[in-house]
Symmetry: D2
Subunit: 267 residues, 4 copies
């Protein structure tokens, strides 16, 4: 039997190199390293890509899926580096790129009664191995919900009321060394008027409301609080903070963003 | 030249009649009747369907698109009835079904300064002409955002604070006669702690916060307020109300639903 | 210290009973029973609700979260029944409702080389315990992707080509007894021109394309194939099949739906 | 009566300047310049932002909404420049940023019978006026669906079949001078195996399938075709092309991206 024709290895009609080509939006189970429990089970949307030189017509898409299938262990810096190296080798590419989007779960105790509830945080972990790069560039992203109490509304009502709402704090970080997702959660949740919880009893609701009203925050305050904390974190090289507040007096959002360098990013 | 083969008119391999078959998710400009201005321009996601008897292999999908293209005028009960009759005739079907999902825009003035802002409301208008039915069954659906101030949190903090958030009131109505979208908006917005606005100045924010704190509402209160109003509206035959509140102390929603009959639905 | 005021247990201002009230869109890890491996880890969006009589102002939202936290074991008919009974008891309600939306993972081998790949299927499992009902009503829903090759296009091009595309087969089933998700997957995947795979090598791609072109299917054929199979399955009481085909020659979908009774649903 | 307190103009607690702050996700009607008809009506999701110096606590969110309300005329380069200048002035800011996401409608005639159908294309138009910039930086983005026929599958089946699917071509362009959205549509639609249509009769379906099978394309081919065309367009300074193909043999996508400079971007 003659071998099946390998169309992909033929010449490209348009001689342009491709920055990234691969598979997108694979949904699979994922094990992630967890500070409290060693590791946890979640599910992830995964993209796997490489570059393609100008003289090849196509990449071999099935090799990305094979690389992922043979990749083992929990998601962390070391294991993603191995996956990137494996993709670069299998695809005979100069660069490799992977990204994992997943919810991360943390049991958080309510502020007054200490009742445990499972919180979920949307995360994204991206690794890129550039052409000729010594090591991968990692980007860690996490979204945490917080409560914001409007300082303007509180001042106008002279303390007798103020509109509040859920807001999202989105952190993107490049770091020199290992950062736990739990650290980013703590930093994000400390930036708003109050954290949010999954399980809240009456005593918790009282404590939470009072704490939030004692610390009113505009999106401007939240984004600055988070940016300041990241700009002082010794491992942070680069960060971006976005805050989107789903205003309860509007049907649109208030938004603020700051991008900057951390201590590890200043040469 | 011999005519192209009409595969669709051939026999079905499995002799089952199909309840609904057609095209889904067409995105097109749409003109809608508007109480204040006669008509307004918006954009809609549109589904068009018919039944298919068991002895035909396929429907003729292009005829739905042609029916829509030749349909003219603004969206209202009369024009949708004409579209349903046209689809039933073109498809040689016993039943026809159309649904339009679109944002509807209303200029709303803020409560204190009267500043005008454009509000958008997600709507859905469905018409169905059943086999042997005298006339179409119409279903009108509208989602309006409101603010909810938590009565429990307000009581716990003895009036010095309470968490609030944006909530959505979703109304579904079958009516005997013409209902303006504006009527549904007014009814939904009167059901929460306060309406929301697009343009709010300081005086408005003060008035709005004070009004909302004077009328704290659980999702249970909001759903009952809207259900009671619909159950008393003389044109309403059937209604369903859903309220989803995007709690500012949680990362999940509070939800409530009531379905019932209006005065025009009691035999 | 005086106890905190229980606003929820106070009287309702509008004396209407509420059909469903509770928490919506909790995202949590979930263990699901798995035919091949006993159980599997996934993540789920969860709603938990109960009814509320007309004389109570509010439900106690935190009790739903507590019921879920104390619920153990893998998702199946028995464990969901226990959760429903627990919710009804904790909330002092007449009815209870829970729904879990989650991806379910199956390792599927490619048709020619037998290469294993992880497939994901969106599922929904709903349990409802009505007022005075002897046992819960369960609804099992699963969406499986398939490939459809257009019979009309194939006939027009006299076998030398035909447009194909990805389609989704959505099954909803009420059954008398236990149905594995794997059974629904097999039934759905047998209804289109060919199943889809995560890992496909050249030999597989050839086999898959040839199989699909040997079995061209309109959405009408797919929905009838699946409906016929469900209508003959001995455990099925009620079913609904929806097929949406993301046409490659259009920017909209073709759609078909059939609802009917199975052998176990005929009295 | 004493004036209401202006909290926003007070000092910031954290002295960090904010890159962008404003309103996000306003949904409003929009008029867009249209090559064939002068202008067209659509609806848009709109973000409006400015920077905020480190010494101010908050921006004045209502001024963005006022600027948008008083902005008139159809969306084009000139009108967006005016809006940016107005925002910068009203907010006393150094920079301004606006983005409009909207569907754009074009009546396209089918390839054989010339039947007219309304196509929709998701677009995004962004304008940014940086601190000290002479004029705004404009970014034009458009997504067009195309059909792709797999060259590998076609070769493996020796011309007797090949899987095809819908793919999206996403173009992002910075240009020296005016580019019509219609030009980007034509360029994107010429990059795949065939364009897609809203209204297709049998003769069209035959012509379209044959044309697509005569020009099989991987995502790699599509992205190169579009990138080459943009790299040669005399007005283009910078471009990015992304192609995502919703593979009919998989439940995930194939993806490719190229970023580069056009003739107007080379110094």
């Amino acid at each position: 039997m003659k071998p099946l024709h390998d169309v992909q290895s033929g010449p490209a009609e348009v001689a342009l190199s491709i920055d990234r080509v691969g598979v997108k939006n694979l949904l699979q189970p994922l094990v992630v390293r967890d500070r409290a429990r060693g590791k946890q089970n979640t599910t992830a949307r995964i993209d796997l890509m490489a570059d393609l030189p100008e003289h090849f017509k196509g990449t071999h898409m099935s090799r990305f899926v094979e690389a992922l299938a043979e990749w083992t262990g929990a998601l962390d810096y070391r294991s993603v580096k191995e996956l990137l190296l494996d993709i670069r080798r299998r695809l005979e590419a100069r660069s490799a790129y992977v990204t994992f989007r997943f919810p991360y779960f943390i049991v958080k105790r309510s502020p007054a009664t200490g009742s445990p509830g499972i919180m979920s945080y949307q995360c994204r972990f991206t690794g890129e191995l550039g052409p000729g790069a010594e090591g991968p560039d990692f980007l860690l992203e996490l979204t945490a919900p917080v409560m914001t109490v409007c300082p303007c509304s509180l001042a106008l009502c002279e303390g007798h009321g103020a509109h509040s709402q859920r807001a999202e704090v989105r952190l993107s970080v490049r770091a020199n060394g290992f950062l736990w997702l739990e650290e980013l959660v703590e930093l994000a949740e400390a930036s708003g008027s109050a954290p949010v919880y999954t399980l809240v009893k009456r005593e918790d609701e009282k404590a939470l409301t009072e704490a939030a009203f004692a610390r009113p925050c505009f999106v401007e305050d939240v984004v600055r609080n988070a940016a300041q904390a990241l700009s002082r974190h010794p491992l942070v090289r680069w960060y971006r903070v976005e805050v989107e507040s789903f205003e309860s007096i509007h049907n649109h959002s208030a938004f603020a963003a700051i991008e900057g360098r951390g201590p590890a990013g200043i040469l």
